[in-house]
Subunit: 385 residues, 2 copies
C-alpha cells in the first residue's frame, strides 16, 4: 500500500496503578506502536525504516475512568492489502498484552478499497425480501436445535415461511451431524421454503449454514445456490475471518450472514477488541451482508450503547462499501420484538431464535411477529437509535 493508505487506531490502556505517571502511559503506547510494526528494539532498524514504517503515537488522551486512550497512526507501507496483515498491525501481538484494548479504528479510503465489503448490503437484502419489506424492520427465525432430523427442520422452515418470516437461518451449531447432513438439508429445507413461497406468493429466504471444513466451503456455497437458498450463514470466528473475506471476494451470488460465535470482544474486558469494531467494522469490511450479534437484554448482557455503536458502524459511510444489515439476536424474547423494531429502526433484521420455538404454536407466533414488524412501518418513523 502507498504511504497514505494507512490506518489510525485507538487503544485503551487500562487504569494505571496509583502513583504511575503520564510517562508510563506514554511508554506503553510507544511499546504498542513498535510491537505492531517494526517489532525490534529502538536502534536496530535504520532511521529510514523507523521514519517510514514505525507506528506513530499521535495523542494520549486521559479518560474519565482513569484509562488512557492512545491514538496511533500506521503508515500504508506496513500493510500489504491483505486481511491477515491488517489484523496483525491493528491487534496482533498486542492481543497478547494485558490491559490493552482496541477501541477505535479509522481506515483510509485506499485501505478500504483492498476489501470487498458487502455485495448486497442492506438494500440488496431488502430487494430480495418480501415486496412489503420496504420501510420496515425485517424478521428472522432459526432452525434448531441440533439433533432434529432434516424433515423436521424442513417442516419447521415451511411453517416460518407460511408465517411470512423474511429470513430463516440454520442454527450455527447445526452443521453436518448425523441427524441432518449438510447435503441433504440444503436440498430439502430449500425446497420446503421455495414450495411454500410458491403457494403463498411469499419470498422467504433460507440461509443454510456453510460453516465447516475450509475444503468444503466452495462446494457448500455452490450447493446452496443450486438448491435455491436465499443466502448462507458463516461463523468467521470459527472458520477464520479470512474465509469469509475469500468467500465474499469470490463469485458468490448469495448474501452472506455472519454469526458472532467465538470472539475476543466482551464489552466488559480491558483487553481484546470492541464489538463494534470486530463485528461492525471488520465483518462488514470483509463482506458480511448482515451481521448477527448478541443483543442487549438477552443472554449475553451487552449494553444498549454497545449495540447502538455496532449498528452505527454497520450502517455508516465506509469508503465506497455498502452498509451491512444489523441482526440483533442471542436471547431476544418474542414479546420484546416490537420494542427492538422501534428502537433499531427499519434497517434491522431482528432474529428471534429459541423464544419463538418455545411458543405453543411457533408458526402463529412468527406470523404475529411479522405483523408487528409491518405495523412499525405503518406507524411511520422507525428509528429511535
Amino acid at each position: 500500500m502507498t504511504p497514505q493508505d494507512g490506518a489510525r487506531a485507538v487503544y485503551r490502556l487500562g487504569v494505571l496503578p496509583s502513583g504511575a505517571t503520564g510517562g508510563d502511559a506514554r511508554a506503553r503506547a510507544l511499546a504498542v506502536a513498535r510491537e505492531s510494526t517494526l517489532e525490534v528494539p529502538a536502534g536496530v532498524a535504520s532511521p529510514a525504516i523507523e521514519a517510514d514504517l514505525l507506528g506513530r503515537l499521535v495523542e494520549l488522551r486521559p479518560e474519565d475512568d482513569g484509562s488512557v486512550h492512545a491514538v496511533i497512526d500506521y503508515p500504508g507501507g506496513i500493510f500489504d492489502g491483505s486481511l491477515p496483515q491488517l489484523l496483525n498491525v491493528l491487534h496482533g501481538n498486542i492481543s497478547l498484552l494485558p490491559g490493552v484494548r482496541l477501541v477505535d479504528v479509522e481506515l483510509s479510503e485506499g485501505l478500504c478499497r483492498a476489501f470487498p465489503g458487502p455485495r448486497f448490503g442492506i438494500s440488496g437484502i431488502r430487494e430480495r425480501a418480501a415486496s412489503d419489506a420496504v420501510g420496515r424492520p425485517m424478521v428472522a427465525a432459526a432452525l434448531k436445535p441440533v439433533g432434529l432430523e432434516t424433515p423436521e427442520l424442513a417442516s419447521l422452515a415451511a411453517g416460518f415461511a407460511r408465517a411470512g418470516i423474511d429470513v430463516i437461518k440454520d442454527d450455527h451449531g447445526v452443521t453436518d451431524q448425523a441427524p441432518s447432513r449438510f447435503d441433504d438439508r440444503v436440498q430439502r429445507v430449500a425446497e420446503a421454503v421455495l414450495d411454500t413461497n410458491a403457494a403463498t406468493g411469499g419470498s422467504t429466504a433460507y440461509y443454510v449454514n456453510v460453516t465447516g471444513p475450509l475444503e468444503s466451503l466452495t462446494q457448500r456455497v455452490s450447493r446452496a445456490e443450486e438448491a435455491g437458498c436465499g443466502g448462507v450463514l458463516i461463523a468467521p470466528g470459527l472458520m477464520g475471518l479470512e474465509a469469509m473475506r475469500m468467500l465474499a471476494a469470490g463469485p458468490t451470488a448469495l448474501p452472506i450472514m455472519a454469526h458472532p460465535s467465538r470472539g475476543d470482544v466482551g464489552p466488559d474486558r480491558d483487553s481484546g477488541i470492541s464489538p463494534e469494531l470486530w463485528y461492525g467494522l471488520l465483518y462488514r469490511l470483509v463482506g458480511a451482508d448482515s451481521v448477527v450479534y448478541v443483543n442487549a437484554g438477552g443472554r449475553f448482557a451487552w449494553s444498549l450503547d454497545t449495540c447502538n455503536a455496532l449498528n452505527r458502524r454497520l450502517r455508516e459511510p465506509l469508503g465506497s462499501l455498502r452498509p451491512a444489515l444489523p441482526v440483533p439476536a442471542g436471547g431476544v424474547q418474542a414479546d420484546d420484538a416490537p420494542e427492538w423494531f422501534r428502537r433499531y429502526g427499519s434497517d434491522t433484521l431482528v432474529l428471534i431464535g429459541g423464544s419463538l420455538l418455545a411458543q405453543p404454536d411457533p408458526e402463529a407466533a412468527a406470523r404475529a411477529l411479522v405483523d408487528q414488524a409491518r405495523r412499525v412501518a405503518v406507524d411511520g418513523e422507525s428509528s429511535l437509535a
Copy 2:
C-alpha cells in the same frame, strides 16, 4: 461422531459476588452446557435430544481463589469431525459471556483422530536439523524488521546460517510489502541459506512466512518447497486456525511453525481460553510442528507456570498424534538463552529475535548462542521443567 467420541471441558466461572450461593454457579454452569450445545430453552428440544446432545455438567469444583470450575462433558454426537464445530462447542458463544474461561480440555481418541496433528513433530524437525542437534535444545533467529529489502534479509539469513542457527524464520509481520515481495524473498533467502549450508556443511532451515490471503496459501507453500525452504511460518490467529488445519491435512512436505499473533488467551483474563489449551493443545491438534509463544520474562509478562504448562501440552501424549516443538520467544534476551536452554530442556527451539539483531555483531552472537546450546547437551541432563 459416535456418542463416545466426545470431549470434556473445564470452565472457570469468575469469582461470584459475596452473597452468591453455590446454586448460582450451578445455574451458570448449566447455562454454559446448554449454550454450547442445544442453544434452546429447556423444554423446547425433545427428551431424546436433551438426553443425547445436551452438554452434561459432571462436577462443580470450588477453587481457592473463589472461582468455581465447572466440568462439562460433550457427547460425540454434537461434533461433526470438523475444527469449526469443535471450537464452537468448546468456546463458541461462550466466548461472548463475561467471566467464563476455558481452562482444560480432554479429547477422546475418536475426536483426536479427526485431526491431522503434526506431520513432523519434534523428532521430524530434529532429523532435518544439524547432525549434532540430537539431545540439545535448538536455536532459532528471526529476519526483521519489516522494511528491509530482500537482499538485506538474504544477507542476514546467510550470517545466521554460517553461525549454525537451526531455524531462521521470517518475522510474521514481513509478508508481501513492497521492500520484500513474497515471491522474490522465498527464492533469494532460501538460496542464500542453501548456498551457505553447502559451504559450511550445515543444515540450517529457512521458514518463510506464508501468512497472507487464503487464496495464495497453496501457491506460497509450493513456492517454499520448490525454493528449498526448510519449513513455513503461519499465523493461525490471523488466517484462521482452520487454514493451518487445511494446510497440515494437505500434501505439504514442509514442517509448519505456528505464530501466536492474535489470540484471546491472556493468562490474566477471566474470559477467553488458557494459552496452554489454545497454543498447546489446539495448535498441535490441527498440525503445528512447532509453536511460537511469548515466553516468561519477555515483553508479554506471561508466567513461568503458563509456559511450563504450554510446553507440557505440546509434548505430552495426545491420542496417536506426534508431539510438537515449543518455541519460547517474544523478547527472550540473548544473554538469558542458556537459562532457558537448561530450564526447558532439549525438546525446545529457543527463538531469539530482536535481542540478537541488537548485538553489535549478530552473526557472532548467534554463533555464541549455538555453542551454548551445544554445551547444554554436553552437560547432560537438560530439563528442569
